[in-house]
Symmetry: C2
Subunit: 346 residues, 2 copies
């Protein structure tokens, strides 16, 4: 069972190697009869062009690198987030006959996007979970300067016009807090994520602006910070419990923290719906698994992955090069965690 090469097909079909290539690459001047002859020979031999040789000859790997942050056994980024985006990317790439090279990037090792490009392992890349930390920005800037096809997802950098697909986190946050305000809540705490993510900043703004637009004074002690994990939400509950007399609603920057918080506050005797309203972010599948079901802000992660792949493919295939930024719309999803039990009883 040796490997079948182009020359084998050429010999069997009685044509030259070049003709075989023409058939497989659909190059124009070609007699139908010859084409069929070649195709038949290829079928008989079960010929499959060697992708490696093709890549080498064309100088294109046919791969798109997807760079995901990675800590063994610790999922900073939730699996929901991760797999939705990945699914969107995968769909778009498959449609365009590109392969997805998944690259786990541990936070401690230095980024080296340029090297990856030079090695030609991929023709373009999508960077998930980038952070605003020293080194990262510079590497991405270099990618940009060299006009390598790339796209960031869910992260924007102040003062740079990197290609990126993000969501309207300011609006999502503003809407979420506005909902709470409209429902009559006034003392609204905010459980934010790490500040290295641009989302955190945007959401903070949305939170603040919503409050001020309702004429409510900002209280810095209403602002808490976790790291997007359920556990961190649980831990914050310890602090928050001490001032629950002065809080009647909480907006959390993602669902997992919201749930951790809910569980933690429960331990301290505070119940969602009775003692406070709660709203999460991401609209992940866990929102419907908890009791009461969690109101949340839906983020079109799948679509964002799709668009990011499209941006990179356009850069590769159509030579698009000018800065591209897009913010996809988010949707507020109301569930039970933002309703007073009182109301239901009325």
């Amino acid at each position: 069972m040796t490997i079948v090469r182009r020359i084998d097909v050429a010999n069997l079909a009685g044509v030259s190697e070049a003709t075989v290539s023409r058939v497989f690459n659909n190059v124009k001047p070609l007699r139908e009869e010859t084409k069929q002859k070649v195709l038949e020979a290829a079928r008989q031999l079960n010929y499959q062009p060697n992708a490696l040789a093709q890549s080498f000859a064309t100088g294109k790997s046919g791969n798109i690198g997807v760079i995901v942050p990675y800590l063994p056994k610790v999922n900073i980024i939730s699996t929901h987030y991760f797999s939705e985006i990945l699914g969107g990317i995968g769909m778009m790439l498959a449609k365009n006959n590109y392969n997805l090279l998944l690259i786990f990037q541990s936070p401690q090792e230095p980024k080296n996007y340029i090297q990856l490009f030079n090695s030609q392992k991929f023709d373009g890349c999508i960077i998930l979970g980038a952070k605003d930390v020293p080194g990262e920005k510079e590497e991405i800037d270099m990618l940009h300067q060299l006009s390598h096809p790339y796209c960031l997802v869910n992260q924007t950098f102040e003062g740079y016009s990197f290609h990126s697909i993000d969501a309207e986190h300011y609006k999502g946050s503003f809407d979420a807090v506005s909902l709470l305000l409209k429902k009559g809540f006034r003392k609204i705490a905010f459980l934010n994520g790490p500040s290295e993510y641009s989302n955190s900043t945007e959401r903070l703004k949305g939170y603040q602006d919503a409050l001020t637009s309702f004429g409510i004074e900002l209280h810095s002690e209403w602002i808490f910070r976790g790291n997007y994990s359920r556990t961190s939400g649980y831990q914050v509950a310890g602090e928050m419990a001490l001032m629950m007399d002065h809080i009647d609603a909480v907006f959390a920057a993602n669902d997992r923290m919201a749930i951790g918080l809910m569980q933690g506050l429960n331990q301290h005797g505070y119940t969602v719906g009775r003692d406070y309203a709660l709203i999460g972010y991401d609209d992940s599948d866990v929102t419907t698994m908890v009791q009461p079901q969690l109101s949340s802000v839906h983020v079109p992660l799948f679509e964002m992955g799709k668009r990011a792949a499209e941006v990179v493919l356009n850069a590769i295939l159509k030579g698009h090069t000018k800065p591209f930024q897009e913010n996809l719309p988010v949707t507020l999803i109301e569930r039970d965690s933002t309703n007073h039990l009182m109301e239901e009883m009325a």
Copy 2:
């Protein structure tokens, strides 16, 4: 900013191309002085070997294909399952300088593992979520016959000795049901997954054997079937509710179905802990998000991914070829859903 090739380095360093290769591939007879000279030239030029050309020359892509089942917008396989295994694979591959080529395989399109191998896109592959359906078995058998490096995860095929990494699902199931029995429950229903997955069969056996080992008669009407989604569990609750007078505990084949069931039964007035005990499977992160927290069977998914990658790498690097099967141990995790409220009140 043109691409730097080996010859550029050779010229600058005043050596031959072969010597440059030797330095980069660490080929033995090599004077330290020459090495440094080459390294310095490479550094100066920012030389990075072209992975494409390397692959072509060696006939090895350096990629491992990971085949995952895929339905747009529908995650049959839970994201937890998926990302844990992927993480394990990624870790092991990174350690061995292999890349991970993620391949989404939609169920409707015919499998073509052989073609993928022939095209040399990857040197070995790991198949996730294979099912016992016509076509699948034959394709894998062909891989096996041609002794291509591959490994299945979480699926075994009756009558074949395919390379695979699985978990002790019989034992997991047996232990889970035994726990319920030891706790005094006798009328134990089983919510299983689709029969195309070998796990389902194994778990069914474990369930049955546990019951019979306790001298309990099997009731076919105690057995329900979902598709591993939360929704399917919710739907099954409709049927199960009709006979809850004759059921005092439920064992579900995964956590999401367990939670869906729990929610559905809730709608019908049946509460975990008060009216029945519940135990799930997978020990995913949602177990701790629900109230009461869900007892479950922990499956070492990350480890399984690691081992599967190891198996494939061993086949590639060390030529291991004899059938390899391994079942990793599972662990029963007791939480609140298997405790009677009665007991707590006592």
